[in-house]
């Protein structure tokens, strides 16, 4: 099995068939993480470099564990230790240097949109975008889809609400692309200051500033982390107001379907976009998302390198 693409820079790189292959592979890999000895030799002798030019805890750990559980040799480049931050080396120079050491896969997280795409042109390795600026975070969307599939047993036709900072969210962009590609119906909400220009046309979603209007018909509700201020610009008056008008509480969920699931890519601002009771409540699949994350990343690493294992 192989994917139709060399790199995973955007959800747009994947066909529907690729997505289904990833989900299928991920669910078979999920079991490895449940074993006492959590390791298979599948990617033995393969080199993966995790280039996290922007801080990350969850995603980085998730990729690292995925690599280790498949027996790949993995190394990490961080923000503080890299020449990028300190010595003014350009992104392309950094990538050219890494390339000279012959890696098989580069996993790139960068604060600049398009950085992984730019890097992909300077390397023969496969590139996985682990989040670039406000652009995309494709493996997050894939793990979200896997979580939904596991919870609901189906994908097509599901109604999904995404509420919060759509404007600055790479997760939202990848989710919107992926969920639409897989035939789901999408509603996005939150304060109008955080809804990007033309999002309906650009992504084929419906905007509703009062998510309560569509809540009763939703199967999935995803909340996104919000920040009052970004780069000196203010998007809502206070966390208190946000929580009151846009935050999700048990009270607001009264009209929701019995089987509505609550998702959040983390880290959660408890008491702002989501009350603690909802985050920890029975509807929440937030930690299932994290578990699926490792499996999905194992799947994409494996599928990008194909099933012809190095050295075997």
């Amino acid at each position: 099995m192989r994917l139709s693409t060399r790199h995973i820079l955007s959800i747009n790189d994947l066909t529907k068939k690729d997505v289904l292959t990833i989900l299928q592979t991920a669910s078979s890999f999920k079991e490895i993480s449940e074993r006492p000895i959590k390791k298979v030799p599948t990617l033995r002798g393969r080199t993966v470099i995790n280039c996290f030019f922007e801080d990350s805890t969850r995603t980085r750990l998730s990729f690292e564990l995925a690599e280790k559980r498949l027996s790949a040799d993995s190394s990490n480049i961080g923000k503080s230790g890299s020449a990028m931050a300190g010595k003014g080396e350009t992104l392309l120079d950094t990538v050219r240097n890494i390339e000279a050491m012959r890696p098989d896969i580069l996993v790139i997280r960068h604060s600049v949109a398009g950085a992984p795409a730019q890097a992909a042109e300077a390397t023969n390795a496969h590139v996985i975008n682990a989040g670039d600026g406000m652009h995309e975070h494709p493996t997050q969307a894939l793990l979200d889809l896997m979580t939904i599939n596991e919870a609901k047993g189906r994908i097509k036709g599901l109604k999904v609400g995404i509420v919060g900072d759509i404007l600055h969210s790479r997760v939202a962009r990848s989710d919107m692309l992926l969920f639409r590609k897989m035939g789901m119906e999408l509603f996005v909400g939150g304060p109008p200051t955080l809804i990007p220009f033309g999002v309906e046309e650009a992504f084929g979603v419906t905007v509703c500033h009062d998510i309560g209007e569509v809540l009763p018909k939703l199967d999935v509700l995803m909340l996104l982390r919000v920040q009052r201020e970004r780069q000196g610009e203010q998007f809502f008056p206070s966390g208190r107001e946000y929580a009151r008008y846009f935050g999700i509480t048990d009270e607001k969920l009264k009209g929701a379907r019995e089987d509505l699931i609550i998702m959040h890519p983390g880290p959660v601002n408890r008491g702002i976009e989501l009350s603690a009771a909802v985050a920890d409540g029975p509807r929440s699949v937030i930690l299932d998302q994290v578990t699926c994350g490792v499996a999905v990343r194992m799947a994409v690493l494996y599928l990008l390198l194909g099933d012809t294992h190095g050295g075997e």
Binding site: H110, A113, A117, G133, H135, P196, F197, Q231
Partner: protein, 426 residues
């Protein structure tokens, strides 16, 4: 000084309403005669312009030469040689140098250096405010005295409307137009491209059209209040065109320019994060582009100016968001604009006018922008049918930052004559 007899070409000089097969005689740095004769006077060197258009030398009223201070991006010698290769005989350089052209001595440096090393005429544009800081007025009178042709804080807006008003009033005493970089910094925010569907898709911060339009509206009102001449640099939106058109109809002294890249590309070009498509104002939508072309055709947009903004590769390799704004435009202008002519969007005459007599009129340049007998012997000769491929690494400019690299284009500069001397020949 050699005399030249340019013969066999089609002479188009919009200023004198000339469009005919004529020969041009150049003597002592001046155009001495336009004649039907194809016989060269004795001693004159013949330039065979068969199949070519003979035009007054192109004037680019918006160029960044980066000299003094950022010579690693460009200097006066490389920039003027690139200009000559692009068909320009006169260029006006913006004052956002280090130090800024905000006093007579820096203006004098540019003029002296251009005289010594320049391949074409260079007219400095002085700063509106000291250090382009938007606060205190620069030495506007001294700058005019030293030879500045206009004032501008280009690259930055003058955000304080009170400062802009006083500078506009004051500049009137010296007959200098004010060239406005129209951008409300608060509305533009941290934007790096046009705010639209493409920015939403790419997750890049947008610069809304209103950031430009709100400032143009303000400056038009200030031009009306002060009676000063406002020239709008690099207009890029449909709304800007409407504001300028409305102001002109009301008799306010407003002129405007558009760049080849805004007339040719849209924000769709940003889709693969090519840092060479990052420019300020940003590439806009197809509706904006169409409105700009129409405005250029009908004269609402007076002039074509490149906003040549050369950058070193290191300024563009840090990813789209961190990349510097700007396109190296001198060497690709002609074929890009000829493409509009070939698509019948503008006439050849209008294109030449927007590159010659229009900027000469805006900047009040005597003896330039025309081939009338007695004017300066600044002549551009180009073959409108010759095809070539844009190769950024072959640019004469130190700035190889072009989104047109690899593009097959039509229209080639054959000779650029500056003050009666051949500054470039292909």
């Amino acid at each position: 000084m050699a005399s030249y007899f340019i013969t066999g070409g089609r002479v188009i000089d919009p200023a004198s309403k000339t469009d005919a097969k004529l020969s041009v005689l150049i003597e002592d740095g001046k155009v001495s005669q336009l004649t039907q004769s194809r016989k060269a006077p004795e001693g004159a060197v013949v330039i065979d312009a068969s199949g070519c258009i003979v035009s007054p030398g192109f004037i680019d009223m918006h160029v960044h030469l980066r000299d003094p201070g950022q010579e690693y991006k460009e200097d006066i010698e490389s920039g003027t040689r690139a200009a000559a290769a692009g068909g320009f005989t006169t260029i006006c350089c913006m004052p956002n140098t280090e130090p800024a052209i905000d006093c007579a001595s820096v203006a004098q440096y540019v003029i002296d250096r251009a005289r010594e090393k320049g391949a074409c005429n260079v007219l400095p544009i002085g700063a509106i405010t000291r250090g382009l800081a938007g606060e205190a007025m620069s030495d506007i009178g001294d700058l005019a005295g030293a030879g500045a042709c206009a004032i501008s804080d280009d690259g930055k807006p003058v955000m304080n409307a009170g400062v802009m008003r006083r500078a506009m009033e004051y500049a009137k005493a010296f007959g200098l137009p004010i060239i406005a970089h129209s951008e409300d910094r608060n509305l533009a925010g941290v934007g790096v491209m046009n705010e639209g569907l493409v920015s939403t898709e790419l997750g890049l911060n947008g610069i809304p059209a209103v950031a430009e339009e709100a400032m143009i509206a303000r400056d038009i009102m200030l031009a009306e209040l002060t009676g000063s001449h406002l020239h709008v640099a690099h207009a890029s939106t449909m709304g800007s065109v409407e504001l300028i058109s409305h102001a002109k109809r009301r008799g306010i002294s407003v002129t405007a320019e558009a760049t080849p890249h805004h007339l040719t590309l849209t924000d769709e070009a940003v889709s693969d994060f090519d840092p060479n498509t990052k420019v300020n104002p940003p590439l806009r939508t197809e509706a904006d582009r169409t409105a700009l072309i129409k405005a250029l055709a009908d004269g609402t947009i007076d002039a074509i100016a490149t906003d040549h903004a050369p950058h070193n590769i290191v300024d563009k390799e840090m990813g789209f968001e961190n990349a510097a704004f700007g396109i190296s435009g001198l060497e690709t202008m002609l074929p890009l604009m000829l493409a509009l002519v070939n698509e019948k969007k503008i006439t050849l005459k209008r294109m030449i006018e927007a590159l010659t007599s229009a900027p000469a009129k805006i900047l009040n340049l005597k003896g330039k922008g025309t081939l009338k007998a007695g004017s300066d012997a600044d002549v551009t000769i180009f073959d409108p049918a010759s095809s070539w491929t844009v190769q950024a690494d072959r640019f004469i400019s130190r700035g190889h930052n072009t989104p047109f690299d690899g593009l097959r284009v039509t229209g080639k500069i054959k000779w650029t004559i500056v003050g009666g001397r051949i500054a470039y020949s292909s």
